[in-house]
Symmetry: C2
Subunit: 423 residues, 2 copies
């Protein structure tokens, strides 16, 4: 019998009505003859409310205890979902991350899964139950302490269980219809993508698309678990993310999968860096020692007259303060002139495996931006992605013109396709 892992996010189980609606969805899958494992997040705002409570009692939210606190959220949603399913006449059992065998390292608040031993889940579904599993949580291997997996942890729980249980697929239920060619709130004509390769999805996720997180897609790719992202409010199919399109999916892949944008980053420019070996290393060692993650990095050609260059990079705004502090401390060692900090930037990224074989993509991208009067401040490229940094107040217009330029608009007949097989 085929096994399906489903995951329902906080907005899908925000209240009693939501839980009952999810219970029906879960039972539908069971009735179709699948064994079903449903992973749930905490209800709606529960996690935020718990965080607020923690801040009220203590200025320091300690790792171990903070995890213990947060995991109460999924415990509530999972047991309620099990009850709702039972009241529909089906057997259900809920399991904590620990009971489900989600074994992690001991890094509280952002633990990594190191093993999955889902024996109890397997027994439960083999006995005919629907198994409900708390997302986002695990238990540390050595100390047996409760851990949480950090942002997007419930998606990762679902994919990890799907891999360990050899599931047919992992369905991620959310409050949108799937992955779109651009953020539908910005681009009204954005199209739902029927199928996208793991590779393109990874680039979209790291470029600002919020439907799936990079970590979850990476895990799914490693274990080759097809993901179906779909709405818990609608019966329509959503977006399949996998290595290869399925039989009923188009074999022609669009040249461009989508346009992502991200306004959560800031740009730091280090002005007047001597253009000699070791300078960039000194700068990024200082950043790394402060445990900060950076995104794009660009170094200009140095001015011939001065022998000085500028280095710019982007990073999450929330890390901006610490990055500036770390660089200021090393001013002597690095030997730069000054620092510029700019949080009014936005990043726009074009993603698509098709661009590898189509040299016109970059030109079309830049022309569209130029025609709309959008100035490009930084450029960075990967094999299947081009990203630019622009002014933040221009980002919505920029995304729209690029989306149109590549024929992605839903009423356009111009969608540029190429015969691909995914990657």
């Amino acid at each position: 019998m085929s096994l399906v892992v489903q995951k329902y996010g906080g907005s899908s189980v925000a209240d009693a009505e939501g839980i009952k609606r999810v219970a029906k969805r879960v039972v539908e899958a069971k009735k179709k003859g699948h064994q079903v494992v449903a992973v749930v997040s905490a209800m709606g705002d529960t996690t935020d409310e718990l965080i607020d409570l923690a801040r009220e009692v203590s200025p320091i939210s300690s790792g171990r205890e903070f995890d213990m606190l947060l995991t109460a959220g999924e415990r509530i949603s999972m047991s309620l979902l099990a009850m709702a399913i039972k009241s529909l006449g089906h057997e259900a059992q809920s399991f904590t991350g620990s009971q489900a065998g989600l074994i992690t390292d001991a890094v509280h608040n952002k633990a990594r899964i190191i093993d999955v031993t889902p024996g109890r889940i397997k027994d439960s579904v083999d006995e005919g139950n629907i198994a409900i599993v708390a997302g986002f949580q695990g238990v540390s291997q050595d100390s047996k302490d409760i851990t949480t997996l950090g942002r997007g942890g419930s998606d990762t729980t679902a994919v990890a269980l799907a891999a360990a249980l050899d599931a047919e697929c992992c369905e991620i239920y959310t409050d949108v219809d799937g992955v779109f060619t651009a953020d539908p709130r910005v681009v009204k004509k954005a199209r739902k993508i029927d199928w996208i390769s793991f590779g393109d999805m990874l680039e979209l996720a790291s470029s600002g698309s919020k439907v799936l997180l990079h970590r979850c897609v990476e895990y799914a790719r490693r274990y080759n678990i097809p993901i179906h992202v779909r709405s818990s409010f609608s019966p329509l199919p959503g977006t399949w993310v996998s290595n290869e399109p399925r039989g009923d999916q188009p074999m022609e892949q669009a040249l461009i999968s989508g346009v992502a944008h991200d306004t959560s980053e800031a740009k730091i420019t280090i002005v007047g860096v001597p253009d000699k070996p070791g300078e960039a290393a000194a700068i990024f060692r200082a950043i790394a020692d402060a445990e900060l993650n950076i995104d794009m990095v660009v170094q200009n050609v140095s001015a011939a007259t001065t022998g000085l260059t500028d280095i710019s990079f982007t990073l999450p705004k929330t890390d901006g303060r610490r990055a500036i502090d770390a660089l200021k401390k090393q001013k002597e060692g690095i030997g730069y002139d000054s620092l510029r900090y700019d949080d009014q930037v936005a990043k726009i990224s074009l993603v698509g495996a098709g661009m590898k074989t189509n040299p016109g993509v970059t030109a079309t991208f830049f022309e569209a931006l130029a025609n709309a009067g959008v100035n490009i401040e930084l450029i960075s490229t990967s094999e299947i992605r081009i990203s630019v940094v622009t002014r933040q107040d221009e980002v919505n217009e920029a995304v729209r013109v690029v989306h149109t330029a590549f024929g992605l608009d839903s009423d356009s007949d111009e969608a540029v396709v190429y015969g691909g097989t995914g990657r």
Copy 2:
């Protein structure tokens, strides 16, 4: 180093302020040189809110899932308390019932403790931590499912841990100053009791006193763990419950420990029962088969002319409907005339080991009631308790006159004492 187990109820940790206040109390005990284990209930109304949610999603609240749901409550309060303690500069770790080694049977919603294996708690306090433990919950021995201990479960958790850890005592913190000679809301002159024997406390608990539940006191008596019931809002000593008074406690025990009352019961009278062997057995077999607990039972002398008698008993009002149904089903088999159901009754109980050796107690009790015009409907006695059933609207007046008659009023010099050693 001596180890103290403290227990804080839901009203003590109702909000962030409460949790911070409790954190200070816990730290005070630690500073006095004790190893400290603090057992907590869920915050304020959390449990009721979770029950409401369960009712919204399902008309049937299933045992296993219901327990999983409810245990989220203590998980929240215990982790917040640990954080609050850490922010005061002391190390703290929180543990679920399962982690703390509270092993129970598999009867969900009212599990019984069958073993306590507090190895992790012992290690934690030996390492210098304050250990915080979730009250009310455990894990079933065979199925490893999460269980809850039912009403008053957190007190039982605390006493069970105190026994398993060989604690010096178990402090039960609550929102009143201790055990009183009567309910202070009814008797303004009620006195706080400094020390009371396990035996008298057990009788008070089963007669309507709500400060400690029978089950917790019974457990403490079996393992000889002194209980100190006291207020989390005040530094004053409360009431010690133990086998023997401690060195600093009065060796003279009051003739009467207190007057308890209970308005939660109903009276059922079975009229016209043939006075022959086996009748009472048939009646109470019917009640037992319906899994109902009864309290007082009284059978009148049968009328010589008819050979028929009446049997009355009291039981919780909440079980009244089911008891009547069970008896109606067996009407043929038992062969009675009719049933009377009366939920306008109250029970008043006088408790004190001293009454064993003082034959005047019963007379003084009944005279006090008679002088106040209170009619007695049923009487039942144990070695150290006399209980009567009266009309419910007379109960407050009845408790007051009895309290006064035995010299228990706080401004009275007449307190009747006897040289006892406790029991």
